[in-house]
Symmetry: C3
Subunit: 131 residues, 3 copies
């Protein structure tokens, strides 16, 4: 139920999304399990990347030539919403800083789950903002 | 008094400002009441827009041709300060992402009030950063 | 010990880093003591600035011609981590908005300490993200 989500939980989820940018920008692929569940789905289809269904798949994809990472990932506008079924949806916005100081804006739609090691994302979908 | 403002309150106000960007960027004008009080004043005079004094006026203005919205609104640097008179001032910074990946930076100066439905903004003023 | 750091502490540290951008962008050099301890070290060597070892030195440096401030400082991706020795490390990312709407992305590595006046930074190091 929604009341089961404390402010401490919500704060932890905020920092989880904050941590994501540090891991990606430092290419700490071996640490992605600090943010995602082992079987997390990542949907970056909007960036012409294949769906991945585990942290291992994601790490392999992102370490490879198919992934073109911006210079930096900045997380903003995090809103945590518990659903009636006990799951937790999170929306946020990202700024990707590219070469030449131009940026892209994207929307993240996540599902967060409580694990024995703390909050993790079991699902993340990213889409680029366009006119 | 300042002590009446809990961390839960401050956290809620942070997420209120985060939500704002999602509503505006999705043009959810009918949902602006999730962020503003019915009689909220919005001061975007610095962007050559008229003062509005209600959510209905704001929604009408923003849905119309006079408003030129950037591609995305990102909220950062939120600081919540209770005043001695019981009102709550909030300052924050916004990044507006424009076409071509260039951005503008603005300052938001808000007043937040507690309502039966949660925290809402009764006043917002936005100014563009310039040299 | 890590357990000594409450969520209220972590939230306060988030707002401390948020406040920083407001002070710098408003050139409130006389208020830097709201963010830093009197003897704070600031390392912006990566920006070709000399190390400073007090708020007074920092204020003098930043008010002078050697410092070239961007138009705006936006703080994101704050993660607070208590160390085993009781100190508190904070990492975050900053977006500096420059003239022409182009941005730079930087990494902040801080040490926060609890004082009688609240949390302050005793150490800050900033580095620019580059390819």
């Amino acid at each position: 139920v929604p009341s089961a989500l404390s402010f401490e939980d919500r704060f932890e989820i905020h920092e989880l999304l904050h941590l994501y940018g540090h891991l990606v920008d430092s290419q700490r692929w071996e640490d992605l399990g600090l943010v995602f569940t082992p079987d997390a789905t990542y949907d970056a289809l909007d960036f012409d990347l294949p769906l991945t269904h585990s942290v291992a798949e994601l790490a392999e994809l992102w370490a490879g030539p198919q992934a073109r990472h911006p210079l930096a990932h900045h997380a903003t506008n995090i809103v945590v919403t518990p659903d009636d079924d006990g799951s937790v949806r999170v929306v946020s916005k990202g700024i990707g800083v590219g070469d030449g100081g131009r940026v892209g804006s994207c929307l993240y739609e996540d599902v967060a789950v409580r694990t024995d090691d703390g909050w993790r994302l079991s699902y993340r979908k990213v889409t680029l903002r366009r006119r």
